[in-house]
């Protein structure tokens, strides 16, 4: 089974498992604090269990890194790390806001070593994929970042709580949006709908961004931390990172602002 088929099977199992929970109060019941340090809600656990069940049947040995359980070795000699956020955008899913997805990355031991990225929008069914060195795709059609180069023309996703939010928001860019689903918002940068994504809260987990980081890069974009350095973080759900992703043309200007 190819990486694409494996990811697809996991995403479909999750979609099926959570379909009865979307927009339901019970979906948002907190069961415990997950391995990533944030609450595990019923919909998260349901999704993760569905994924685990597919992976355990797959037959290959892998390291499974996921937001709620943290980490689990499947089989004896892991061939790769399978990095999953069972539902990215839990608040949206629980409240029937149509903006949540399943992001999956396949790689080694670090964010700098992702070889395959997959994000499925669970509302529209759109699938974004990227394989290292082979480009990025939306439903198997090649995608590319935008070519806007002026700050005043930018459409930006910005999770900004520090004073730098002021210059960014204060009419220096054209449009600021926050949909509450980082993996999908990054795919919007990859496909050119948005020009940049900024999150300087030190709150992003590797499970949120590993897949989309590769998708943005393979679509021609640039991804760094807030100082312009390449992201390099162990594939561990307790780690937190800052991130700026852009079409590349405005990356330096954004780094100056944050």
């Amino acid at each position: 089974m190819s990486y694409y088929e494996l990811c697809n099977e996991v995403a479909e199992a999750i979609q099926k498992a959570v379909s009865g929970l979307i927009g339901k109060t019970e979906a948002g019941v907190t069961l415990r604090i997950g391995a990533d340090g944030t609450p595990t809600e019923k919909i998260d656990e349901t999704a993760e269990n569905a994924a685990l069940s597919v992976l355990e049947k797959d037959g290959r040995s892998m390291r499974f890194v996921s937001e709620e359980l943290g980490e689990k070795t499947i089989g004896k000699k892991p061939e790769f790390t399978f990095v999953l956020d069972p539902i990215d955008g839990t608040f949206n899913a629980v409240n029937n806001i149509p903006f949540f997805c399943v992001p999956i990355a396949i790689g080694g031991s670090d964010l700098s070593d992702i070889r395959y990225g997959y994000v499925k929008n669970l509302v529209s069914g759109d699938i974004y994929t990227a394989e290292k060195g082979k480009g990025a795709f939306l439903n198997k059609r090649k995608i590319h970042v935008s070519n806007v180069s002026e700050l005043s023309g930018l459409s930006v996703i910005s999770y900004s709580q520090r004073p730098h939010a002021v210059p960014i928001n204060n009419h220096k860019v054209r449009r600021v949006r926050v949909f509450g689903c980082a993996a999908l918002e990054l795919c919007y940068v990859a496909s050119g709908i948005f020009d940049a994504f900024i999150d300087m809260r030190s709150m992003l987990r590797v499970t949120d961004i590993a897949a989309s980081k590769l998708i943005v890069e393979e679509a021609g974009g640039v991804v760094t931390d807030g100082k312009g350095k390449p992201l390099s973080t162990e594939l561990d759900v307790t780690k937190r990172v800052n991130m700026i992703a852009s079409n590349g043309m405005v990356h330096d200007k954004l780094l100056e602002l944050v």
Copy 2:
């Protein structure tokens, strides 16, 4: 025909007229600068024409206030003002981001005198309505604002470009989102998914907010300008307003922050 039926007929005509344009590049082609001072895109004009056609057939005389054409008197002795944003969330609709709606208000000559509000989510089909003094409804079921009273627990929609964005975003509230569709975001406050909506950019038009203002108030919420005063603005698309809408319990705390 009741106000509900009239609004429904207009919203359905718009939905049908724009269905082929969602997510299409041609939908976003700028035709001219509209009466509200912002660009009229093809999807906006298509939607407005569909609405006008329904209203001209209705038979009643009314003042039609709409974002692109500005104002038009239908018939000889207007019985009411019909306030429309043909598509709220044009950027989303053009880019296939599932967050856009048709807001309609029926009233006299001022924002303080709205007697009926109607908002149809064009993606899910959800319909929010309110009649002055008779409560607010989502798909005919009564809705009510949330009862969160602590700043630290708030889920807020915030269009904030001034320095006050910092205290609001800087961990003083739980969650900040910006979906780019004010009329629908305000309905989320009315139905209790979000606790407050803040827009202090002096960019909101009466067509964006007239319907939802009544829906929030009839759901038990409070709507004021940035100084805590009731909104009072002529139903004129060239006017711009600031707005804070909340569940009421946190209104004073938010006024202190902005």
